[in-house]
Each structure stands twice: as C-alpha cells, then as structure tokens.
C-alpha cells in the first residue's frame, strides 16, 4: 500500500492492515515519518521527531505482532505526544526554553500505557509554552501553522498535535486541555478531540500547568479513533490521587447506539454577542442535522458562564505560579551563566528560561495568592467556580448533552492577537466553563466557515459520560464527511 494511502486510514483500518499483513508496522511508521519530513518544515507541528527510535520500536513491535505477543487495537499504531508528557530518555521541553535540555528520566502514565499497548511514538508535538496559550505562538520552538491556511494559527495550546492530525502527520496524538487546549485547536484545525472528565486519565508524568484543571485527551480524525485510544489511557492510577476510581467502559461498544430522542441543550449564553456570525451559521446548520438524526434540541441557560474567563484567569495562574516554582535552575532545566548568588540564580534562570506569557501568568497567580488578596481573588474565584458547576448540574437535569461552538471564531491570523492577551483569552470563552466544572468536553468538525476554515462543534457531557459523547459524535460522523476532509496542500 502506498504511503499516502496508509496516512488516510483510520486506526481500525491501520490495525487491520498491519495485522492482516497488508503492510508492516515499519511501513506504517515510515509513511508518517516521511510525511513529517516532507510537510512539517512548513507547519512546525513537531519539536522532536524520533525517526531512529520510532523505526527501532516499529521493528520490535512487528516482531511481537508476528509472534502473537501483541494484538490490541493500538498495537503497531504510530502516534505523537504533546511535548509535556514525560518520555523516558527523550527530550521533554514543554514548549519552553526552560526545559530545552530536559531529558525525562521517566515515562508519564499515558506514555507507558501507549508503550505497553504497542504504539509507535513518532515524536513530540509543539505546544504553547507550559500549555499557556490559545494560538501556539507562545512556543520557544516557533509558531505552528494551521494546515488549512498557513497564515493562521492552529489554536493552542495543543496546536502542534491538532495541526499534525489535520495534515495527517500522525493518526492519533495526545494533547492536554486545561481551559480548552484540546477543543479550541481541534476546532481551528478541523479535527476530533476529547477532554474527558477531570480525573478520568492519570496526570502522572504530565508537566502541570493548573493541577485542578489539567486533563489529557486524544485527538484524531474521528470519534471512533478517540474512543479506541481512550480505552487504553483511561482509568485509575494510584500515582495520581485525583484520578477517578470510576469503572472505565469500553468506549467503542456504544459508538453505534442510537441517538434518537437525544436531548441536546443549547446554552443561550453561547450564542450571544461575541460569537462570529460565520461560525454561528455552521453551528446552526449542524444542530439541524442532529435534529434530522432524531435528537431533540432545547435551549438551556448557564447564567454564570460569563464569569468563567475571569475565574479561570485567577485559578489557573494561581496554581501555575506554584507549579512552576520547581523550575529554579537548581536540579534540572535552564540555569543562568555564572550566578552571583542564590537570588541571582533564581532570578536570571527563571527570567531567561520562561517566555512572556508564562511570566505574565506567574505574576498574576502570585498576586492572586498574596496575603491580603487571597480572599478577594483566589477564594472568590473558587466560589464562583462552584456556581458555574452548579449551572451545568441544573442544565443536565433537563438535557442529556450540551452543544455549542468550540471557539467563537475560526482560526485567526498569526500575530493578530499576539499583543492583546485579553483578546487571546477570549478564544477559550466556550471551553473554559466546562473545564472549571471538571466536565468532559469534545470537539468535532462540522464544516467550514465562509473563510474556508473549519468549525468545530463542542459537545459537553455529564460527568463520566464520555461513551455517550463519543457515540453522538460518531453518529454524526457516520452521516457526514467533514472529519475526513484534508487541506489540499497536505493531501
């Protein structure tokens, strides 16, 4: 089979191809490695490409498959990881100069899960530094370009992974989502991605941005591919106290369940001022398509959703300011030249190692936790966070799932919002409420706006309802081909 044909396959098809001997793991791996080599120069979606290691891994897995030792659904499947998942013996930069030299001594939980499942790690995806950003412009390793229009951003912070899927440089990647970092770039790049319920996947080995919000999730072409991946990475891990004990269902068995009678809630606050009219048009059309598939649509209200962005920009920076304290130049990461004394070591190492946005958030967070301001900022934000969560609890009394835009606009131009942090923050206005509530959210492509850029539908489920969400997106994808569209230049 040709390399181009291989890169158009779903995970299931790849698995079948490998396990029926149509092509080897090595051939599949090479197909993607070659695409990366050929196409990523322009996109910059990878920080590290692991050609030699991936080929070596492919060889081993080919053998294991031949010997019948490996047969799971991800056996032989190439994939990539956002560069904040620790990978033993492999550079893990978190998109930062601070970790430019950091070779992780251990594997993250999800890294070892994918390794054990027989996946082949192609490389590490570019990202906004420490997962802080909505455009992937905050990377110490250069901006990532959107395959649909290389003048545009791919979204962020999992922008590298989203762009890689859109250009078929990997069939599946893992990203992370703190306030929308899977869903917003997924929407901008026209790919499918799911941020599961907080706690569904262990955070062990995921370099922390905001611990109470961070959650890992797969991004791929289809909901089915996400479901296959989620089966491997979800579940309790004793190394993460916040990981959930709840049983993990087989996410693939319910994909074909009927969505007839499904009650979809549309939060009126998500369709108010701020939503780009082109995006609104596409969303409204897709909602009608869901009605045609038998769903019942109802307006719901999330009255406190408008407070989500300010709440998030207190809570997330506060946690980040503490989480990033360990990058002090003492044990790992960037250390300044010739420190004069301890204070100098700290100040210069951190000043030189962190980028602008990271420093901005450390300062905001430090301020919000300071004596005399804690009650007014952090504590108040946590109280409002509970109100936001309660809005969802109330809404889910009336509907099964909530739908709306993943982002207020399509991908914007590189540089367009780079100097306006608040405008940038508003790119996550529809994804942040879900994150604050700890609810699962996903995005899947539902078409293109007049500017030719993809639009994603956000689907929000109740706690641990990932199976139902994947089922709903899958049913839509069975009846549409938006998710299979490929930017012409990367075909």
């Amino acid at each position: 089979m040709s390399q181009e044909s291989i890169s158009s396959l779903s995970l299931k098809e790849l698995h079948t191809g490998i396990h029926t001997g149509q092509f080897s793991v090595m051939e599949a791996t090479d197909a993607y490695l070659d695409r990366i080599e050929r196409l990523d120069g322009e996109l910059n979606s990878f920080i590290t490409v692991l050609r030699a290691q991936a080929q070596q891994q492919a060889q081993v897995i080919d053998q294991k498959i031949r010997q019948g030792e490996l047969q799971g659904p991800l056996a032989g499947i190439p994939y990539a990881l956002k560069d904040l998942f620790c990978t033993e013996g492999i550079l893990t930069t978190c998109g930062s100069k601070m970790l430019a030299n950091f070779v992780s001594p251990y594997d993250a939980h999800v890294t070892s899960q994918l390794k054990a499942a027989g996946g082949v790690l192609l490389g590490k995806n570019n990202m906004d530094e420490f997962a802080m950003g909505s455009s992937n412009e905050n990377s110490a390793y250069g901006v990532v370009r959107n395959p649909w229009n290389t003048d545009c951003v791919p979204g962020g912070s999992s922008g590298g992974g989203a762009a890689a899927i859109a250009a078929r440089l990997a069939p599946m990647v893992l990203g992370t989502d703190t306030g929308g970092s899977i869903r917003q770039p997924g929407s901008f790049c026209g790919v499918t991605g799911i941020k599961p319920t907080y706690g569904r996947i262990s955070r062990y080995g995921m370099i922390a941005f905001a611990s109470s919000l961070d959650q890992c999730g797969p991004m791929a072409v289809s909901a089915e591919d996400c479901a296959i991946t989620l089966n491997v990475i979800a579940g309790f891990d004793e190394r993460d106290s916040t990981s959930a004990q709840a049983t993990v269902p087989d996410y693939t068995t319910t994909l074909n369940d009927s969505i007839h009678g499904l009650r979809i809630g549309l939060p009126k606050e998500f369709f108010a001022a701020g939503l780009d009219s082109q995006v609104a048009t596409v969303i409204e059309r897709a909602v009608k398509e869901f009605e045609q598939l038998g769903a019942v649509v109802k307006e719901v209200s999330l009255p406190n959703a408008h407070l989500a962005v300010p709440v998030y920009y207190v809570v997330a920076p506060a946690e980040a300011s503490s989480n990033l304290s360990r990058f002090d130049g003492v044990r790992f990461g960037h250390r300044c030249e010739d420190p004069q004394d301890l204070t100098d070591l700290y100040k210069r190492s951190r000043w030189e190692g962190f980028g602008e946005e990271v420093k901005r958030r450390i300062m905001v967070g430090t301020y919000a936790l300071s004596a005399g301001y804690y009650d007014a900022y952090y504590l108040k934000a946590q109280q409002v966070r509970r109100l936001i969560k309660q809005d969802f609890v109330d809404a889910f009394k009336e509907v099964d799932v909530i739908m709306g835009p993943s982002a207020p606009t399509t991908a914007f131009k590189i540089g367009e919002k780079a100097d306006d942090p608040v405008a940038m923050y508003l790119a996550d206005i529809y994804t942040i409420p879900t994150s604050l509530a700890g609810l699962p959210g996903m995005t899947f492509p539902i078409g293109f706006a007049a500017d030719g850029l993809p639009v994603g539908m956000q689907l929000i489920g109740n706690y641990f309802q990932e199976a139902r969400m994947l089922n709903i997106a899958h049913q839509y994808q069975l009846n549409s081909d938006w998710h299979l569209k490929l930017p012409a230049r990367f075909a």
């Binding site: 904040l84 998942f85 620790c86 893990t92 978190c94 970790l99 950091f102 992780s104 001594p105 251990y106 993250a108 955070r203 062990y204 080995g205 995921m206 370099i207 922390a208 905001a210 611990s211 109470s212 004793e238 190394r239 993460d240 106290s241 916040t242 506060a318 946690e319 300011s321 503490s322 990033l324 304290s325 360990r326 990058f327 002090d328 003492v330 044990r331 790992f332 301890l342 700290y346 430090t366 936790l369 300071s370 004596a371 804690y374 952090y378």
Partner: protein, 476 residues
Amino acid sequence: MEWETVIGLEIHAQLATNSKIFSGSSTAYGAEPNTQASLVDLGMPGVLPVLNKKAVEMAIRFGLAINATITPRSVFARKNYFYPDLPKGYQISQFELPVVAQGYLDIELDDGSSKRIGVTRAHLEEDAGKSLHEDFHGKTGIDLNRAGTPLLEIVSEPDLRSAKEAVAYMKKMHALVRYLGVCDGNMQEGSFRCDANVSVRKPGQPFGTRAEIKNLNSFRFIERAIHYEVERQIELLESGGKVIQETRLYDPDQGETRSMRSKEDANDYRYFPDPDLLPVEITATEIEAIRATLPELPTAKKQRFMQTYHLGSYEADALTSSSELGDYFERVAQGTQDAKLAANWLMGGLAALLNKHELEISAAPVAAETLTQLLNRIKDQTLSSTAAKDVLEALWQGEGSVDAIIEAKGLKQISDTSAIEAMLDEIIANNPSQVAEYRSGKDKLFAFFVGQAMRASKGKANPSTVNDILKQKLEG
C-alpha cells in the same frame, strides 16, 4: 512589678513511618546523600504526591492522646517559598484545616500541682532537604534524603510561663510521642525539635511582641535559649527599647540567641489548598478503631504505679518516662514482689549504668528477668547490696548468669549463725580493751566490731546477722 514570661512551643515530631509522606522512599536516617530521593522527592516535572496513610493514622493517634478534636475533613495546602533544599518551591503542609485541632496536655509543676497546656493544633507536613555548606568550595550541596519525611507540627497555646514549664511540656510531649510509637524521639538526629515563641509582659497586660527561636533540639538548649531570650527582652524593655518581631537562632557555643530575619523579611507563603491531593476524610469508625489501639498513656500509668506499687510521685514519674522503662519496672517489681527494691535499683544502679553507656532501657544488656534474679538474691540474703552492685556490673559485661557470677566471685554472703558466732568470739577475745571500753558506755565502738567482722569475712558476712549476734555477745 515583675515581668511575666509567655512561651508557646511549636514542636516538630518526625513520624516513625517507614516511607515518606508523599512518596515511597525510605525515611531511614544517615544514608549517603540523595540515595533516598525518588522522582517525587526531587520534584521532577510531572510527578504527583500520594499521601502515606500511616502518617495520617499516627497524627490521629497523637490527637486522641491529647484529647484533641480530629478534623473529619482536613486539607493539605502548599506553602510557597524558594529554597534550594525545597525541591518543588513549595512545602506541602496543612494550613486552615489541620488534621488535629484543639487538645491539651497536663504538666507537673515543681510544687506538685498540675497545669493544663492548650495545644492549638497539630498538622502534617513534609520536611525539606538539607543544605550542606562544607566541602563544596563556594557552592552549596543539597541532600534530599530528608525531603518528604513526614512531620507532625504540634503548636501549643501561649500557656507556658517559664523556661522550666517549657521544658516540662517538651519532656512530656517527648515521652508521649514515644509511648504512642509515632516518633522515635531522637533529638540528636532532629526527629524531635522545637521552635519557641518567647515574649515578656507585665502581668495583666496584653501579650508582648514575641521573638521566635528556631530549631532547638535538646532540653538543655530550650531552657538556656529561653532564659537568655527572656533576659534579653527584659533588658531591652527596661532600657526603653522595643522588642521586634523576628526569628532568632540559638548559638549553644555562645549561649545566646541571634537575629536571623525580621518580620519585614518574612516570606508571604501564599498558602492555598494543594490541588494534587484530595481532602483527607476521616470517619468516626476509623477514629474509634485507632483509639482502640492506644496504649496506656504516661499520666494513667503514673497514677497506676503510685496506687499499685505505692511509689512516690517522683519515682512514678521517672519510671513512666518511657513505656519500655515502665514495662521493665513492672516485670522486676512483680518478679521480686518488692516494688520499692525494684524502683531503687532501676533508678539507682541500673540508671547509672545506662547513663554511663548512653543507652536506653530497651538496649540494656541486663534483661528484667536477670535483674529480678539478682534482686531475689538480695532478698534471700545470698547477696549483700554492695556485692549485688558488683554482680550487676558483671552481668552488664556479660560475664554469665547471676548465680554463676556469685559463685565465680565468691560473693555469697555468710548467714550461717554458728560460723559468725565463732568469728565474733575470736574478735571479742582478741580485743579485750575495746570490749571493756564499749561495756563502760562507749557505744560508738560497736561500729569498730562490725568493721572487724566484715574485714574478717571479706565483706561476706550478713551485716544484720552480725549486728544481732554482736549485740547479744557484747551486752552479754
């Protein structure tokens, strides 16, 4: 008007868990630097803490022993500050909701009365690593073996009114945590240490400004440091000065406290609940299960010793200073049916040997059963008390069993009446002038005859038999 001293202590007790509070690394003391530091202890990017349940159980155990409220839902918080031996840039501690709230401990005062000292709270936290300033030529070495060791910080109310009270409180706590098995109490290794908050005021006035003396790791240092600090503050105030709120260090070589940093330089720790850890939920059932495993505590044991064994307050206090000593005493008291004798030997001969060799009772080479045999040899008149001391020394040196040593050293006491009579007859016959003097009223000479008898028997004659027979013969 006299000045009144006001002291509050913050005791740091290292919990006797095998592994660290948030990682599986060993807590054993004295390993090569950084050999007991896991990824979690190193604060590697991406690692997460997992609470050691044993540490929580020990904290609850302690809380129950001081009649404290156990917080049903306590929360770990991050205390943020930068220091090279603090790998994460924050210490995981408890702030607003500590696991142990409001309890108390009664201490004994010199006049025999007891005083109740309030314990505001006791919270769990992780220890930091150590900075090593020697041998690194202008740089600092970091040893993270200690990082993550579980600590229980026990905060008292400002109820202590003198250095003496502070030491009494500290000693009582020291005994308590060891009784409970929650801390090994090793002060030299830093397993049990305290910070003292000291201020002075005129009685009836509000509290004065306090200074905090850091890291006191011996009872003697606590007493001296507080004395010095109280004098310093009084002098300062009486000469028109002001005490400033600051952290001070005690220098045992100079016997003085020195300013370390003032309040203005103090960190803003930016406490907030640690999002990596769930709140610690403790049910009433769990609390009761732990309560059921509590040993007899020092105060109760002391009361029982005074009643059962008719010991005085001082002896009972000394013998209950550790549960091992109390157990040892009870075995000897029961084996000899003579609590007084057992108490005397434990606090006398045995205590002297323990002190000399700097050993705890649990490490004494003479077991309670052996001491019992020895004391029974005094009671059955085989040994004189003096000879018994020699036997104890020999037992300590491992020279054999009680009877074998008596035999080998020929220490068996002569109680045979006829042998003693014969010996005394000879002495009387050989000293006619002294006999005459005695009989004419010089009573003091009685001791001379006893001395002669002991010399003649090489100390082995039973002194009371000698006394009785000698009296008869001389009066006769």
